[in-house]
């Protein structure tokens, strides 16, 4: 089992129904772990993320069983579900360019699901995630096109915790992630 998929709340990663593969560390852009959806869970959880990188990147291709905006929470040894997040986004819905934002949220978004069949894609950068002296910034390029529907969005999110390195990440949808969903976590050396 990959070191970042160790015990969480007394359960192993496999207990959450995820499949994982041990990372192969070559070069300055390294694969840390990859998780797949099960079709019966709406949570993908990376835990025990090492603090030996400068930045993290999650590359995700996924299908949600419901039409909602999947979201992300982070934390140190455990996920922070308090109102410690803020976000802004700029997006296009095929007819207008729009923007909004919100503070004191319990998560920030990383995607948009308007169709349960076609794949969403997100590239999430988590910058200086191991810092213990500044808040953390997440930025995402994401979209889903449905041949007549869909959205393209650029999200900016902040986790208002300056003293804790990110060691845990949860990606959550209101329904389930399909078995074709794949979430790959990479570390970038600095």
């Amino acid at each position: 089992m990959s070191p970042i998929l160790g015990a969480r709340g007394g359960l192993s990663a496999s207990a959450y129904g995820f499949t994982s593969v041990v990372a192969a560390a070559v070069g300055d852009y390294q694969s840390i772990a990859t998780l797949s959806g099960t079709g019966s869970s709406g949570t993908i959880a990376f835990t025990s993320i090492p603090n030996t990188y400068k930045h993290l990147q999650i590359r995700a291709s996924y299908q949600c069983s419901t039409t909602d905006n999947p979201y992300i929470r982070v934390g140190g040894s455990s996920i922070d579900s308090g109102s410690n997040y803020s976000w802004h986004h700029l997006y296009g819905d095929g007819s207008s360019a729009l923007s909004n934002g919100n503070g004191s949220q319990s998560f920030t978004y990383f995607g948009y699901s308007q169709n349960t069949t076609n794949p969403n894609a997100s590239v999430i950068d988590i910058l200086d995630y191991a810092s213990v002296n500044k808040n953390k910034t997440l930025r995402t390029l994401t979209g889903q096109d449905n041949n007549g529907g869909g959205e393209l969005a650029i999200w900016s999110g902040s986790w208002q915790n300056s003293s804790t390195a990110i060691g845990s990440i949860s990606l959550i949808t209101g329904g389930n992630f399909s078995t074709a969903s794949r979430f790959a976590l990479y570390g970038i050396k600095g």
């Binding site: 819905d93 390029l141 096109d145």
Partner: protein, 163 residues
């Protein structure tokens, strides 16, 4: 041991050319990243692509949603049942586009392409759906209105391999 993020191929356009096609792309990666840098022989154009397995899919199996800013206004639009999918922007000034072909080698789902591009006229982002469920091993890159690439355009294709 394979590298996680590595260059698959780089091509520099030697003289005015309408398109370039990457072929025989190995299926051994998880995602592809294509970077196109350079300029056209004339003004602002959408940079687009066709993909396929063994050959290029020229049927109306592409759709796209985009978001752009011109410096004075912003807009969003879409193309449906199209014969190509937009992945950036090029002009007669230096332009850069970066496209992510997500989960390109899977053989069960349709494919999504995310991209961002910029030239002297626009900053733009796209999401493209290709209806094919086969692994992509061929990518043709060209301008939407057949405007040729100028000599010196560099196209680099990278593969990213997940654990």
């Amino acid at each position: 041991m394979p590298a996680t993020y590595e260059s698959i191929a780089t091509h520099t356009i030697p003289s005015t050319t309408a398109s370039y096609t990457f072929t025989s792309i190995p299926a051994t990666y998880t995602d592809l990243v294509l970077i196109v840098n350079g300029k056209n022989i004339s003004s602002d154009q959408g940079l687009t692509c066709q993909v396929g397995t063994g050959s290029i899919d020229t049927a109306a199996n592409y759709s796209c949603t985009y978001l752009l800013g011109s410096g004075t206004s912003s807009a969003s639009g879409r193309f449906t049942s199209d014969t190509n999918g937009l992945i950036g922007r090029m002009g007669n000034d230096n332009s850069t586009s970066i496209a992510h072909f997500m989960n390109y080698s899977n053989t069960t789902t349709k494919k999504t392409i995310l991209s961002r591009g910029n030239n002297g006229a626009y900053a733009i982002a796209h999401v493209v759906l290709w209806q094919g469920t086969t692994a992509i091993d061929t990518i043709k890159v060209f301008n939407l209105t057949s405007v040729s690439f100028a000599a010196g355009v560099v196209l680099t294709l990278y593969g990213i391999k997940a654990a």
